[in-house]
Symmetry: C2
Subunit: 114 residues, 2 copies
Amino acid sequence: MAAIFPKNFHIKVRVYNEEINFGKGVAQLLQLVEEHGSLAAAYKEMGMSSSKAWKILHRAQEDLGFALVEGSSGGKYGGGTQLTEAGRKLLQQYVLFEHDVQDFAEKRFAEYFK
Amino acid sequence: MAAIFPKNFHIKVRVYNEEINFGKGVAQLLQLVEEHGSLAAAYKEMGMSSSKAWKILHRAQEDLGFALVEGSSGGKYGGGTQLTEAGRKLLQQYVLFEHDVQDFAEKRFAEYFK
């Protein structure tokens, strides 16, 4: 019998203190905040609701113990929002970490499953 | 401001053809089937329902295109169940792959976040 082995792999990378929550979604949101200087522009580009965006941000901030974003939030269309210094650093490290893991997994997957 | 960086990481590894589904849960179920020679003993040890166990097995088998388990399934307490040759091979490779990824991630995490 010729076994047909899986063609793909999927790896989800998250970092946290007590509750698993900082993953690709919130990282992408932060990257878009950095790019646009606006939380509203960020979640809209992701097709995410305002309430969902705030929820994932708040959860991550609460778990991590520091603010990821800062800035005014008033106005009908939302004020400007930036990453905090700690938020920017965490994002950079997460992106590097996540990339390294995916890269390593790709090589190993090819060895084991091709 | 002293940033408190995350203490932990969590990585979920799955392999698939079309639909993401073969992960740690079904791998653990297969390992217990191998150990006990019984699907019922396996899902009971995991605190999993019979319907859930069959669902995750069927989904994985359908996506992979080959059987993972074989054996009689009759009788009030279920007949014996074994892994197929392909199921055993896939399980072994998944376990090695998953372990390598976790191991690599642990080293990288320590470098980036400690």
